[in-house]
Protein backbone atom coordinates (compact mmCIF):
# COMPACT_ATOMS: atom_id res chain seq x y z
CA UNK A 1 0.00 0.00 0.00
CA UNK A 2 1.29 3.44 -0.93
CA UNK A 3 1.07 6.05 1.79
CA UNK A 4 0.44 9.65 0.74
CA UNK A 5 3.04 11.88 2.39
CA UNK A 6 1.47 15.18 1.40
CA UNK A 7 -1.33 16.31 -0.90
CA UNK A 8 -0.49 19.27 -3.08
CA UNK A 9 -2.86 20.37 -5.82
CA UNK A 10 -5.91 18.92 -7.50
CA UNK A 11 -6.97 19.83 -11.04
CA UNK A 12 -10.22 19.36 -12.91
CA UNK A 13 -12.43 20.72 -15.64
CA UNK A 14 -15.70 21.84 -14.11
CA UNK A 15 -18.93 23.30 -15.43
CA UNK A 16 -20.19 26.63 -14.09
CA UNK A 17 -23.09 28.86 -14.98
CA UNK A 18 -21.59 31.85 -16.82
CA UNK A 19 -22.98 34.95 -18.46
CA UNK A 20 -26.65 34.56 -19.35
CA UNK A 21 -26.83 31.44 -17.15
CA UNK A 22 -25.13 29.54 -19.96
CA UNK A 23 -22.89 26.57 -19.27
CA UNK A 24 -19.16 27.30 -19.36
CA UNK A 25 -16.10 25.10 -18.98
CA UNK A 26 -13.57 26.11 -16.32
CA UNK A 27 -10.17 24.61 -15.57
CA UNK A 28 -9.42 24.71 -11.86
CA UNK A 29 -6.35 23.91 -9.81
CA UNK A 30 -7.02 23.93 -6.08
CA UNK A 31 -4.75 23.52 -3.10
CA UNK A 32 -5.47 20.42 -1.06
CA UNK A 33 -5.00 22.07 2.33
CA UNK A 34 -7.68 23.51 4.63
CA UNK A 35 -5.81 26.70 5.64
CA UNK A 36 -7.40 29.86 4.19
CA UNK A 37 -5.82 31.24 1.03
CA UNK A 38 -6.46 33.60 -1.85
CA UNK A 39 -7.66 32.75 -5.31
CA UNK A 40 -6.59 33.77 -8.83
CA UNK A 41 -8.75 33.94 -11.96
CA UNK A 42 -6.57 33.49 -15.06
CA UNK A 43 -7.78 34.87 -18.40
CA UNK A 44 -6.33 33.18 -21.49
CA UNK A 45 -4.92 34.85 -24.59
CA UNK A 46 -6.57 35.26 -28.00
CA UNK A 47 -5.10 31.95 -29.29
CA UNK A 48 -7.24 30.20 -26.74
CA UNK A 49 -7.63 27.88 -23.79
CA UNK A 50 -4.46 25.94 -24.49
CA UNK A 51 -2.01 23.82 -22.53
CA UNK A 52 0.20 26.85 -21.83
CA UNK A 53 -2.54 28.68 -19.96
CA UNK A 54 -3.53 25.57 -18.01
CA UNK A 55 0.10 25.24 -16.92
CA UNK A 56 -0.12 28.80 -15.59
CA UNK A 57 -3.27 27.86 -13.62
CA UNK A 58 -1.39 24.95 -12.06
CA UNK A 59 1.57 27.22 -11.29
CA UNK A 60 -0.65 29.51 -9.25
CA UNK A 61 -1.90 26.50 -7.28
CA UNK A 62 1.68 25.43 -6.62
CA UNK A 63 2.29 28.99 -5.40
CA UNK A 64 -0.49 28.40 -2.86
CA UNK A 65 -3.57 29.91 -4.54
CA UNK A 66 -6.73 28.27 -5.73
CA UNK A 67 -6.86 29.14 -9.43
CA UNK A 68 -9.39 28.97 -12.26
CA UNK A 69 -9.47 29.76 -15.97
CA UNK A 70 -12.65 29.98 -18.03
CA UNK A 71 -12.58 28.50 -21.54
CA UNK A 72 -13.88 31.68 -23.16
CA UNK A 73 -14.58 29.85 -26.44
CA UNK A 74 -16.55 26.97 -24.97
CA UNK A 75 -19.86 28.21 -26.35
CA UNK A 76 -18.54 28.39 -29.91
CA UNK A 77 -16.65 25.12 -29.80
CA UNK A 78 -17.36 22.75 -26.90
CA UNK A 79 -14.83 19.94 -26.80
CA UNK A 80 -12.76 21.30 -29.70
CA UNK A 81 -8.99 21.64 -29.67
CA UNK A 82 -7.85 25.07 -28.50
CA UNK A 83 -6.61 26.18 -31.93
CA UNK A 84 -9.82 25.12 -33.73
CA UNK A 85 -11.90 26.87 -31.05
CA UNK A 86 -9.80 30.03 -31.36
CA UNK A 87 -10.25 30.02 -35.15
CA UNK A 88 -14.03 29.89 -34.78
CA UNK A 89 -14.05 32.58 -32.09
CA UNK A 90 -11.83 34.83 -34.20
CA UNK A 91 -14.12 34.40 -37.22
CA UNK A 92 -17.01 35.52 -35.03
CA UNK A 93 -15.25 38.64 -33.76
CA UNK A 94 -13.98 37.36 -30.42
CA UNK A 95 -15.67 37.42 -27.03
CA UNK A 96 -18.14 40.27 -26.35
CA UNK A 97 -17.13 42.34 -23.32
CA UNK A 98 -20.42 41.81 -21.49
CA UNK A 99 -20.11 38.03 -21.81
CA UNK A 100 -16.50 38.13 -20.61
CA UNK A 101 -17.51 39.95 -17.44
CA UNK A 102 -20.30 37.47 -16.74
CA UNK A 103 -18.08 34.46 -17.26
CA UNK A 104 -15.25 35.84 -15.13
CA UNK A 105 -17.77 36.69 -12.40
CA UNK A 106 -18.70 33.01 -12.25
CA UNK A 107 -15.05 32.00 -11.77
CA UNK A 108 -14.61 34.71 -9.12
CA UNK A 109 -17.64 33.49 -7.18
CA UNK A 110 -16.49 29.88 -7.43
CA UNK A 111 -13.08 30.69 -5.95
CA UNK A 112 -14.54 32.86 -3.19
CA UNK A 113 -16.96 30.08 -2.19
CA UNK A 114 -14.31 27.39 -1.76
CA UNK A 115 -13.99 26.07 1.79
CA UNK A 116 -10.36 27.16 2.05
CA UNK A 117 -10.86 30.62 0.51
CA UNK A 118 -9.83 33.64 2.56
CA UNK A 119 -12.29 35.69 0.50
CA UNK A 120 -9.62 37.48 -1.51
CA UNK A 121 -9.37 36.85 -5.24
CA UNK A 122 -7.16 38.39 -7.91
CA UNK A 123 -7.27 38.29 -11.70
CA UNK A 124 -4.48 38.02 -14.25
CA UNK A 125 -4.68 37.86 -18.03
CA UNK A 126 -2.34 37.66 -20.98
CA UNK A 127 -2.54 39.30 -24.43
CA UNK A 128 -6.27 39.87 -25.11
CA UNK A 129 -6.73 38.56 -21.57
CA UNK A 130 -4.71 41.55 -20.37
CA UNK A 131 -7.34 43.92 -21.73
CA UNK A 132 -10.06 41.67 -20.35
CA UNK A 133 -8.37 41.77 -16.94
CA UNK A 134 -8.70 45.56 -16.90
CA UNK A 135 -12.31 45.20 -18.05
CA UNK A 136 -13.13 42.66 -15.34
CA UNK A 137 -11.38 44.63 -12.62
CA UNK A 138 -13.47 47.70 -13.52
CA UNK A 139 -16.74 45.74 -13.23
CA UNK A 140 -16.13 43.12 -10.52
CA UNK A 141 -14.91 43.27 -6.93
CA UNK A 142 -11.49 41.72 -7.34
CA UNK A 143 -8.80 42.38 -4.73
CA UNK A 144 -5.91 42.66 -7.20
CA UNK A 145 -5.40 42.63 -10.98
CA UNK A 146 -2.42 41.98 -13.27
CA UNK A 147 -2.56 43.11 -16.89
CA UNK A 148 0.07 41.29 -18.94
CA UNK A 149 0.57 43.13 -22.24
CA UNK A 150 -3.09 43.78 -22.97
CA UNK A 151 -3.69 45.89 -26.09
CA UNK A 152 -6.71 48.04 -26.93
CA UNK A 153 -7.09 49.44 -23.43
CA UNK A 154 -6.57 53.14 -24.18
CA UNK A 155 -7.55 52.84 -27.86
CA UNK A 156 -10.24 50.64 -29.38
CA UNK A 157 -9.85 48.23 -32.27
CA UNK A 158 -9.71 50.11 -35.60
CA UNK A 159 -12.69 50.57 -37.88
CA UNK A 160 -13.06 47.68 -40.28
CA UNK A 161 -11.64 45.17 -37.81
CA UNK A 162 -13.82 42.11 -37.21
CA UNK A 163 -13.15 42.68 -33.52
CA UNK A 164 -15.15 45.27 -31.65
CA UNK A 165 -13.10 45.94 -28.54
CA UNK A 166 -13.77 49.51 -27.45
CA UNK A 167 -11.22 51.50 -25.47
CA UNK A 168 -11.65 51.04 -21.72
CA UNK A 169 -10.82 54.64 -20.89
CA UNK A 170 -14.46 55.53 -20.04
CA UNK A 171 -14.55 52.93 -17.25
CA UNK A 172 -11.04 53.24 -15.78
CA UNK A 173 -12.40 55.37 -12.94
CA UNK A 174 -14.33 52.26 -11.84
CA UNK A 175 -11.19 50.18 -11.26
CA UNK A 176 -11.93 48.41 -8.00
CA UNK A 177 -8.51 47.21 -6.89
CA UNK A 178 -4.76 47.70 -7.08
CA UNK A 179 -3.38 46.79 -10.51
CA UNK A 180 0.02 45.72 -11.81
CA UNK A 181 0.94 46.11 -15.50
CA UNK A 182 3.67 44.03 -17.12
CA UNK A 183 4.71 45.12 -20.61
CA UNK A 184 7.49 44.66 -23.18
CA UNK A 185 9.39 47.70 -24.45
CA UNK A 186 9.48 46.20 -27.96
CA UNK A 187 5.73 45.52 -28.09
CA UNK A 188 3.45 47.63 -30.30
CA UNK A 189 0.19 46.00 -29.13
CA UNK A 190 0.23 47.68 -26.61
CA UNK A 191 2.93 50.21 -27.43
CA UNK A 192 5.00 51.82 -24.66
CA UNK A 193 3.22 55.10 -25.51
CA UNK A 194 -0.15 53.45 -24.86
CA UNK A 195 0.92 51.89 -21.57
CA UNK A 196 2.34 55.27 -20.48
CA UNK A 197 -1.01 56.80 -21.29
CA UNK A 198 -2.74 54.12 -19.22
CA UNK A 199 -0.41 54.91 -16.33
CA UNK A 200 -1.20 58.63 -16.60
CA UNK A 201 -4.96 58.06 -16.81
CA UNK A 202 -4.99 55.80 -13.76
CA UNK A 203 -2.78 58.18 -11.79
CA UNK A 204 -5.14 61.03 -12.67
CA UNK A 205 -8.06 58.90 -11.44
CA UNK A 206 -6.22 58.25 -8.16
CA UNK A 207 -5.86 54.52 -8.78
CA UNK A 208 -3.17 52.22 -7.40
CA UNK A 209 -1.33 51.13 -10.56
CA UNK A 210 2.28 50.02 -10.96
CA UNK A 211 3.67 49.35 -14.43
CA UNK A 212 6.88 47.61 -15.45
CA UNK A 213 8.09 47.86 -19.04
CA UNK A 214 10.89 45.41 -19.71
CA UNK A 215 13.70 46.19 -22.15
CA UNK A 216 14.60 43.39 -24.55
CA UNK A 217 11.10 41.92 -24.46
CA UNK A 218 8.11 42.24 -26.73
CA UNK A 219 4.66 40.73 -26.57
CA UNK A 220 4.10 37.36 -24.87
CA UNK A 221 7.40 37.21 -22.99
CA UNK A 222 5.78 34.82 -20.50
CA UNK A 223 4.90 32.24 -23.19
CA UNK A 224 7.41 29.44 -22.62
CA UNK A 225 6.45 27.57 -25.81
CA UNK A 226 6.91 30.49 -28.20
CA UNK A 227 9.93 32.30 -29.63
CA UNK A 228 8.73 35.45 -27.84
CA UNK A 229 9.67 33.87 -24.49
CA UNK A 230 12.27 35.89 -22.59
CA UNK A 231 13.34 33.70 -19.66
CA UNK A 232 15.12 36.39 -17.65
CA UNK A 233 12.32 38.90 -18.05
CA UNK A 234 9.67 36.27 -17.34
CA UNK A 235 11.47 35.23 -14.16
CA UNK A 236 11.64 38.82 -12.94
CA UNK A 237 8.02 39.47 -13.90
CA UNK A 238 6.82 36.27 -12.18
CA UNK A 239 8.55 37.56 -9.06
CA UNK A 240 6.59 40.84 -9.37
CA UNK A 241 3.35 38.86 -9.70
CA UNK A 242 4.19 36.73 -6.66
CA UNK A 243 4.99 39.76 -4.49
CA UNK A 244 1.90 41.66 -5.69
CA UNK A 245 -0.51 38.81 -5.00
CA UNK A 246 1.22 38.08 -1.69
CA UNK A 247 0.50 41.64 -0.57
CA UNK A 248 -3.08 41.84 -1.80
CA UNK A 249 -4.42 38.29 -1.55
CA UNK A 250 -3.10 37.29 1.85
CA UNK A 251 -5.61 36.93 4.65
Amino acid sequence: MVRTLRSEIATSFIELSGHGAESIEVYVATVAHPSPRGGVVVIHHLPGFDEGIREIVRKFAVMGYNAACVNLYYREAPGASSDDAAAIARAQGGVPDERLVGDVAAALAYLRDLDNSNGRVGVIGYCSGGRQTVLAACHLDFDAAVDCYGAFVVVGTPEGSPFNFPALTPILADLHCPMLGLFGADDQYPSPEQTSELEALLAHAGKNFTAHTYEGAGHAFFAVDRPSYRPEVAKEAWSEVADFFDIHLSA
Binding site: H45, L46, P47, D50, E76, A77, A80, S81, D83, D84, A85, A87, I88, R90, A91, Q92, C127, S128, Y149, A151, F152, T157, S161, P162, F163, F165, D187, Q188, Y189, G218, H219, A220, A223, R226, P227, S228
Partner: protein
Protein backbone atom coordinates in the same frame (compact mmCIF):
# COMPACT_ATOMS: atom_id res chain seq x y z
CA UNK B 1 3.03 41.15 -30.72
CA UNK B 2 -0.55 40.17 -31.05
CA UNK B 3 -1.86 42.46 -33.80
CA UNK B 4 -5.51 41.38 -33.87
CA UNK B 5 -5.14 42.29 -37.57
CA UNK B 6 -7.66 40.03 -39.26
CA UNK B 7 -9.34 39.93 -42.68
CA UNK B 8 -12.54 37.92 -42.98
CA UNK B 9 -13.84 36.87 -46.40
CA UNK B 10 -16.86 34.85 -47.41
CA UNK B 11 -15.96 31.92 -49.64
CA UNK B 12 -17.82 29.22 -51.54
CA UNK B 13 -15.57 26.21 -51.46
CA UNK B 14 -15.03 22.66 -50.38
CA UNK B 15 -12.23 22.04 -47.92
CA UNK B 16 -10.80 18.83 -46.53
CA UNK B 17 -10.38 18.87 -42.78
CA UNK B 18 -9.59 16.26 -40.17
CA UNK B 19 -13.03 14.66 -40.59
CA UNK B 20 -13.13 14.80 -44.41
CA UNK B 21 -14.61 17.21 -46.91
CA UNK B 22 -16.93 19.99 -45.80
CA UNK B 23 -18.55 23.03 -47.41
CA UNK B 24 -16.44 26.05 -46.44
CA UNK B 25 -18.16 29.39 -46.01
CA UNK B 26 -15.48 31.75 -44.71
CA UNK B 27 -11.76 32.32 -44.51
CA UNK B 28 -9.83 34.33 -41.92
CA UNK B 29 -6.45 35.74 -42.90
CA UNK B 30 -4.36 37.22 -40.12
CA UNK B 31 -0.92 37.65 -38.61
CA UNK B 32 -0.43 36.22 -35.16
CA UNK B 33 1.67 33.85 -33.10
CA UNK B 34 1.47 30.45 -34.82
CA UNK B 35 0.40 27.34 -32.95
CA UNK B 36 2.79 24.99 -34.72
CA UNK B 37 4.94 26.84 -37.30
CA UNK B 38 8.37 27.56 -35.78
CA UNK B 39 8.39 31.37 -35.90
CA UNK B 40 7.40 34.23 -33.66
CA UNK B 41 4.77 35.43 -36.10
CA UNK B 42 3.18 33.91 -39.17
CA UNK B 43 0.55 34.56 -41.78
CA UNK B 44 -2.37 32.44 -40.71
CA UNK B 45 -5.29 31.25 -42.82
CA UNK B 46 -8.31 29.45 -41.40
CA UNK B 47 -10.83 28.02 -43.87
CA UNK B 48 -14.01 27.43 -41.92
CA UNK B 49 -17.66 26.65 -41.76
CA UNK B 50 -18.62 28.42 -38.55
CA UNK B 51 -22.16 27.04 -38.60
CA UNK B 52 -20.93 23.45 -38.70
CA UNK B 53 -18.49 23.89 -35.83
CA UNK B 54 -14.82 23.92 -34.94
CA UNK B 55 -14.02 20.45 -36.27
CA UNK B 56 -14.57 21.64 -39.83
CA UNK B 57 -11.48 23.76 -40.26
CA UNK B 58 -8.38 23.83 -42.40
CA UNK B 59 -5.59 25.84 -40.84
CA UNK B 60 -2.41 27.13 -42.48
CA UNK B 61 0.52 28.90 -40.84
CA UNK B 62 3.34 30.18 -43.08
CA UNK B 63 6.07 32.76 -43.42
CA UNK B 64 5.52 36.01 -45.31
CA UNK B 65 7.37 34.89 -48.45
CA UNK B 66 5.26 31.75 -48.72
CA UNK B 67 2.07 33.76 -48.28
CA UNK B 68 3.06 36.16 -51.06
CA UNK B 69 4.04 33.29 -53.38
CA UNK B 70 0.75 31.57 -52.70
CA UNK B 71 -1.30 34.72 -53.26
CA UNK B 72 0.58 35.53 -56.48
CA UNK B 73 0.21 31.96 -57.73
CA UNK B 74 -3.55 32.09 -57.19
CA UNK B 75 -3.82 35.38 -59.10
CA UNK B 76 -1.53 34.16 -61.94
CA UNK B 77 -3.56 30.99 -62.26
CA UNK B 78 -6.81 32.92 -62.41
CA UNK B 79 -5.38 35.25 -65.07
CA UNK B 80 -4.12 32.38 -67.20
CA UNK B 81 -7.36 30.45 -67.71
CA UNK B 82 -9.61 31.24 -70.68
CA UNK B 83 -12.33 33.77 -70.02
CA UNK B 84 -15.61 32.15 -68.98
CA UNK B 85 -14.05 28.88 -67.81
CA UNK B 86 -14.54 29.68 -64.16
CA UNK B 87 -17.67 31.15 -62.65
CA UNK B 88 -16.92 34.45 -60.91
Amino acid sequence: MCTYSTELVEVRASAKGAAGWFPATSASVYVDHPVDFPAGHAVMIDVLNVARGAHDRVGLEMDARSARLLAEAILRTLDSVPAGLLEE
